[in-house]
Amino acid sequence: MTDYFMPSLIYFAAAAIVPFIAAPRLRATFMLAVPFAGFASFATMAYGTYAFMPFFDFNLKIFRLDGLSFIFGLIFSIAAFISIAFAWHIRDRLEQVSSLVYAGAAIGAVFAGDLITLFVFWEGTAIASALLIWARRTPGAIATTMRYFTFQIASGLLLFIGIVLFYRDTGSVAFQHMELDSLGTWLIFLAFGFKCAFPLMHNWLQDAYPAATPTGTVTLSAFTTKLAIYALARGFAGTEFLIYIGAAMSLFPVFFAAIENNLRRVLAYSLNNQLGFMVVGIGIGTPLALDGTVAHAFVHVIYKALLFMSVGAVIYRTGTAKVSDLGGLWKYMPWTMAFCIVGSLSISAFPLFSGFVAKSLILSATASSGHIWVWMALVVASVGVLEHAGIKIPYSMFFGHDRGWKVKEAPLPMLLIMGFAATLCVLIGVFPQTLYALLPYPVEYEPYTADHVITQLQMLFFAALAFALLIRFNIYPAEYRSINLDFDWVYRRFLPNVLRVVTHYVTVIWRVYARFADRRIERALMVIYRAHGPQGALARTWPTGSMVLWIAILLGITLGLAYL
């Protein structure tokens, strides 16, 4: 059995058992143990390819462990632990099972040695995450799930077609570096792009994440996008094209986040922005850049989960995540505020916090490889990150207008896990070497140089000063209930209208054609029926004599043929 083993089997096995555990407490603790078991199963293994599975005439490498997949396996296990712990109070079996399957599929995909296994788990994450959003069970959420699911399956389909073409061109399905030269690799690249929220394909992120349950969003935030980053890093490291995509990706969400009313959508935009950083890192492709991407992905999972958790806690207590309804909670939820601030400081790369040690890798890699404009874009983007995630999230939730909320602090399990995540962020910030040791390529980069710290602090505090002044002189965008259109307007409003018009004309034409064709088809069917129906020539019971006649005729023909 061992040669079929892979870590995600533990998640799937647990997912199979969980529904049958009646006591909610017991079920939650059982689920909590799963990430540890998952990580332990591959923690001590040497790098190499372990499990093989024959599939038609392929021999699928379903468990490959190497530098890149180990660290992603680790961070996915941590993410699984965080999201499961945060969902401690959840009773809904669907959400629990789908989160386990989701984590398992993501880890399975990370360890996939070839494209087919990757595709299987790629689809697994799509299905499980859709169920996770669906678990909220409100009409809006279900509609959003359908859109989300279509996007994810579209990505899966592109991947599948890409693999088929890739196999036809190169004859191999191994999952390693691919050049963007053939249609197959382009389709695979696009498939990864879909799930990595490239510009114009990004809006499923902002559309679906706010639709999930607060605990569901925490799970969602970790796996799909980081899996896409891993896939891009594995497949297309060093592709020039990615640098400019990454720059674009890190820039445009900043503006949307600044004016967004729903905090979880702000965080979704921020997630999109952070992905931009990672994509730039992959695009540059130098060992330092790739390390930067991996490090950034690693820390991003933690602090993004922390931010989503703090917003989740606020939702849990107040029932809303809208800036227009929140404010003044610092008196009632001090711990959540503290953890939220730690998260915000980490994301805005404040020194002594995890973001600082990771993002600087990417920035210096970009600068050292001479992409001035891209570097400028990333600097603007990091200021933007400070704006919407560093300041807007904590400020609008805990300070801002006092809406008169008098709520209790978040329940203890939530606080504990948020504390764990916050300490993790601080630890990585203070001791970057722990993180650097895990990275795939050896790192000789020292984040804490005086120059770097000072410039970073200057930038952050002057931005904060600007914020304070904008608030003071009331220029800061006011918060009121509203939504902002994004690319999803195209397929939620524009295309349906176009479709409605087109179907109107098509039906008119079809009706004209139908009248004309009906008579013809009717007559043809009658002819067939007359020949084959129960009284038809072919089906009637013929007199014996005629049967024998047929025999004689056939014999005659064959004998006649004998004389030709």
């Binding site: 009409p139 600044a258 600068a367 008098k406 005086a450 002057f462 000063l465 304070a468 939504i483």
Partner: protein, 97 residues
Amino acid sequence: MNTYITKPVLIGLAVICATLVGADFLRDGHGYFSFENWPLIYCAIGFVVYGVLIILAKGLRVLIERPENYYGDLAIDSEPEPGMGPIAPEKSGVPHD
């Protein structure tokens, strides 16, 4: 929105910024690009970029802002956000404005 950005907060911020400007000469200036080594460049970047960014965002908002029920009832924005199960009982304050 400005109940918390009182005068002492502003003064505090100004003091921090002043010290940072003071610390600027500590930088030994071996950034990758030439303009990185100009004095106070990062302070300027932080302040100016932030302001421009907010103004551009407000401009964008004018274009793409829509009422909450723009996508009809089948959208999460127009339906009440039930959070986790029943809205936490202790909530007594009602959001106004």
